[in-house]
């Protein structure tokens, strides 16, 4: 600190007769000030010095310029689209984002530069959208992501239109890349050369940490065969629990393995199918006493200790075994087997197990009968939460088949929310029309209903599900003004719900026409 400032801090009362110099050109001026007015002269000198410094502001040349972003290969979308996109990063409009991004990708455009910070921030907190966002970030987005650790996910994505082709630097990425990149490389290699992929993993196995081993092991699910059995069986004895569980899940796809054979034997001893001309029956016999070996057989991985009941392990077993096993063991068609659930008191729980099993083993010929039974006997009689597996099965069905299964639910307004959760968007024009007709009847004939089954999040889903040709019809319904004489608080809520729905539909229309 220079003497001039020090004098100001301690006070001129403590200073010598002569005031300190500033060691600048100001001193010449200061010398003309009256010495007897020490404080005044000091203040005027300080004022002049401040202006002097302000006028000669120093710049720094020490900053390193960043590397420039590489040239773009895709054009940015129009500035009007940029304005539209910015609005989609705020709830409730975020539900429209996937469709907007997909349209942007199809049109061969990238996200414009000014929207990139919002985009990267959104992808950071919403990892499920990263795979859609990453290819649209362009070189500028990947360049920008290097500056913030939480944005690094953007540069880790292998952006490639042909997701199964290995990039030229595949081996380097496998050796030196991030975990996400290594997963991607291993999965791609697995689709091309499963044995080579397994060899790569075996070579690094001992050097990796347990959680990395578990993550990479799951990549072997694609193209899994008997050839992988030895390696996976070894992983069952891994010291890491996450690795053992991952190996157990993989082995389920190798039915000839001894571990799966033991699982099947345990399950077979508990479930039987009794044919009858009146009503086929499923007979469930739970063991009275079970030990750790018995549980290990179902878990496949070794358990340290376990206090769960035999009923829990029974459901676990059914959820792990391919439904085709029951088809061949009892020599019955899927529909016949599922029909036998009817009289069983555990039927509703078993259907969920079977849906999980069908989803796990991609047993597509079971999808339709399973979902039909599920809709008829579970969803139509209760408001049981819908699991991920059921949604995935609906997504795997042909849209017309899925819509046909769900159509009966439209007759009951309390159940009509389920298609919004189960039926993937976009719906067909005819199903959209049926749904909207039901919805119109509902809000016009039940104006005082407080829409308890239509919470905002669910209702907003309608905006993304409808066929584009039905959006005007939906807008007409959403523009319905509810009776003014209804002064109940819930009227305001209903009106706000409809208003927000109309806004979403309007924005979706803009997405469809402008992007």
């Amino acid at each position: 600190m220079d003497t001039f400032v020090t004098t100001a801090i301690v006070g001129t009362g403590q200073a010598n007769e002569a005031l300190p110099e500033t060691h600048t050109a100001i001193d010449t001026l200061a010398a003309q000030l009256p010495v007897e007015q020490k404080e005044r002269s000091f203040l005027l000198t300080a004022g002049a010095l401040a202006i002097y410094k302000q006028a000669s502001s120093l710049v720094s040349s020490a900053q390193t310029l960043p590397e420039v972003a590489a040239p773009e290969t895709m054009p940015a979308c129009l500035s009007r689209n940029a304005q539209l996109l910015i609005g989609l990063f705020q709830p409730p409009y975020t539900i429209l984002l996937p469709e907007a991004l997909e349209r942007l990708r199809s049109s061969g455009h990238r996200i414009p530069d000014e929207v990139l910070p919002q985009c990267l921030a959104y992808g950071t907190t919403n990892s499920e959208h990263r795979s859609q966002l990453a290819p649209l970030l362009g070189e500028r987005g990947r360049w920008l992501s290097q500056f913030k650790p939480t944005w690094k996910w953007a540069s880790r994505y292998l952006v490639d239109e042909h997701a199964t082709i290995l990039p030229a630097e595949a081996e380097t990425l496998w050796q030196e890349g991030t975990l996400e990149q290594r997963q991607e490389i291993l999965s791609r290699l697995r689709t091309q050369d499963p044995a080579q992929a397994r060899t790569w993993l075996e070579q690094v196995w001992k050097q990796e940490k347990a959680d990395v081993r578990a993550t990479l092991l799951t990549c072997l699910e694609s193209g899994i065969s008997d050839a992988d059995q030895d390696f996976i069986e070894q992983a069952l004895n891994d010291r890491g629990e996450s690795v053992r569980l991952a190996a157990a899940r993989l082995l389920l796809h190798i039915p000839t393995s001894p571990s799966v054979q033991r699982l099947l034997a345990r399950a077979d001893s508990m479930l039987d199918f009794k044919k009858s001309s009146l009503q086929n029956k499923l007979l469930i016999t739970l063991p009275k006493q079970i030990d750790l070996d018995w549980k290990n057989d179902i878990a496949i991985a070794k358990l340290k200790q376990d206090k769960l009941s035999s009923e829990y392990w029974f459901h676990k077993a059914i959820g792990r075994i391919s439904p085709q096993h029951w088809e061949s063991r009892f020599d019955v068609a899927p529909a016949t087997f599922i029909d036998a659930l009817n009289p069983n008191e555990m039927g509703k729980a078993l259907i969920v197990d079977l849906i999980k099993a069908a989803y796990r083993h991609h047993t597509s010929n079971w999808y339709q009968p399973l979902l039909g039974w599920y809709i008829q006997h579970v969803l139509s009689t209760s408001l049981q939460p819908i699991g991920k597996a059921a949604r995935e099965l609906f997504a795997a069905l042909a849209p017309a088949d899925a819509e046909e299964i769900l159509t009966p639910l439209l007759e009951d307004r309390e159940k009509s929310q389920h298609p919004l959760l189960l039926l993937p968007a976009p719906w067909s024009a005819s199903f959209s029309d049926k749904y909207l007709t039901m919805f119109k009847t509902y809000i016009t004939t039940n104006p005082n209903d407080h829409y308890s089954f239509w919470d905002s999040t669910l209702l907003f889903q309608l905006a993304i599900c409808l066929d584009p040709s039905k959006l005007d019809f939906a807008l007409e319904i959403a523009s319905t003004e509810l009776p003014e004489d209804d002064t109940h608080w819930s009227r305001q809520r209903r009106q706000n719900q409809l208003h927000s729905l109309a806004t979403l539909i309007h924005i979706r229309k803009r997405i469809l026409t402008e992007i």
Partner: protein, 442 residues
């Protein structure tokens, strides 16, 4: 001609976030009846708890709505502007209804009246002797106040800045109150500003000393006003607290017509008073101007400006030496996208401009910084932002909550033309011109 307005510009016009959000919800065509526009205005009727009539004069973006809201622009006015930004096709060109014509006529008559007043001065001037008397009385009060301020400043520096209480800001406000009593409002404001400096940064003593010194220079200058040229006398009087009425500014200030780039805006708050600063740059004259507007609490500002656009307009500067503060006289034309380049080639050249301005008006605190081919830099190790010129010299950017990611994204490491406000320590970005074609507000 249709108005060209963007969502960003509309959002910047909103008095607060809640009004902006409410306005956005009203941006659907279904909310509007009899929507239309012509060369002068945009209008529409919005169904709320009643049918509200909204009209917007396009050249000045002045809004008027029949709703009872005290926030201006209200959500209905913003809703109509959002509709215009999002769905321009929803607004047909046509003849305005009577309620729009009558409003436009009324506005035109008021503007005419203002223009007449501006050119002729007030119709009823108080008697010269009475004015002289009150001026002399005020001058006496101010001189007494300044004498008292000088004593206080000298006491402060005699005892040393180290003796200042760590937390209390009382002494600054007490002294400011004395300056208010002395009718030296400019000095009072300067003292209030200083209350935030002690113990706020490692080099606060140096900063405070500079401010106190400049205040002493101002009081000294006021004592010897006759030594300065008339324009600088105007500056000194203004800084002390002699304000001018708008009509006086019109009468005595310099009028300049140009295509003005509306480069950006910032609003600050001091004790519930909001100050809005809008920076302009004249395409033809190369001059900068700062439009200041003041409002108490949530009261609206009087005028809206099409930020990020250029508009042919006449402004008038406050009288002074190398004046900076100005107000609009006329904005008859529609705003357009900014066309053309601007800025100094290097930071050295910009600071030479700063030095020139300070030589003419030494108390100036903020400067419009226009820099060609500038590159933003983020030092991730120290979490600091900089702006570099094309020869590699750099200055820090102001630390803000939102940081400067949009600026960095727009640059991508490439140079762009930068507009910002230099406060003597760091640059506050206002906007950038990318590829010499598109201006983005920051």
């Amino acid at each position: 001609m249709n108005i060209h307005v963007t969502v960003d510009q509309v959002a910047k016009m909103a008095p607060d976030v809640s009004v902006a959000n409410a306005g956005r919800k009203l941006s659907l065509p279904k909310n509007w009846k009899t929507v239309g526009q012509n060369a002068q205005a945009l209008w529409g009727e919005c169904q709320g708890s009643a049918l509200y009539q909204v009209r917007i004069e396009l050249s000045t973006l002045t809004t008027q709505c029949s709703c009872p809201s005290r926030k201006i622009p209200c959500k209905h006015s913003l809703g109509l502007l959002y509709l215009c930004a999002n769905t321009p096709t929803a607004i047909a060109t046509g003849e305005p209804p009577d309620w729009v014509i009558s409003w436009l006529n009324k506005r035109s008559a008021i503007q005419q009246q203002k223009a007449t007043l501006a050119t002729q001065g007030p119709t009823k001037k108080p008697a010269a002797s009475s004015t002289q008397k009150s001026t002399a009385k005020r001058q006496e009060k101010i001189l007494q106040g300044i004498a008292q301020l000088d004593l206080w400043l000298e006491d402060l520096i005699r005892n040393g800045l180290g003796s200042l209480d760590t937390h209390s800001t009382t002494i600054w406000h007490q002294q400011a109150a004395k300056m208010v009593d002395a009718q030296a409002l400019g000095l009072a404001q300067a003292l209030r500003t200083m209350s935030a400096i002690p113990h706020a940064s490692p080099d606060w003593t140096e900063k405070l000393l500079g401010k106190l010194g400049k205040l002493a220079l101002l009081s000294e200058s006021y004592h010897h006003l006759e030594r300065f040229a008339p324009p600088l006398q105007e500056d000194i009087k203004l800084l002390v607290g002699w304000t001018l009425k708008e009509a006086e500014v019109h009468e005595r200030g310099e009028h300049v017509s140009d295509d003005w780039f509306m480069l950006g805006q910032q609003t600050s708050e001091v004790e519930r008073n909001r100050v809005q600063s809008t920076w302009l740059y004249g395409k033809e004259t190369g001059r900068s101007a700062q439009i200041l507007q003041f409002a108490y609490a949530s009261a609206p500002f009087a005028e809206n400006f099409p930020l990020g656009m250029q508009q042919r307009a006449e402004i008038v500067y406050w009288p002074g030496n190398d004046p900076q503060r100005a107000l609009f006289v006329r904005r008859p034309d529609m705003p357009q996208a900014i066309q053309g380049s601007f800025g100094a080639e290097t930071l050295d050249a910009f600071f030479a401009q700063v030095a020139t301005q300070l030589a003419k008006q030494p108390w100036r605190e903020t400067f419009l910084c226009l820099l060609q081919s500038a590159i933003p830099i983020y030092d991730s190790n120290q979490n600091r932002w900089y702006l570099s010129d094309q020869v590699g010299q750099a200055v820090p950017l102001v630390e803000t909550a939102n940081e400067h990611w949009k600026l960095l994204a727009l640059s991508g490491g490439h140079p762009l033309d930068f507009a910002g406000e230099w406060n003597g320590e760091a640059l506050l970005p206002l906007g950038v011109l990318v590829d010499h074609t598109t201006y983005h507000l920051l």
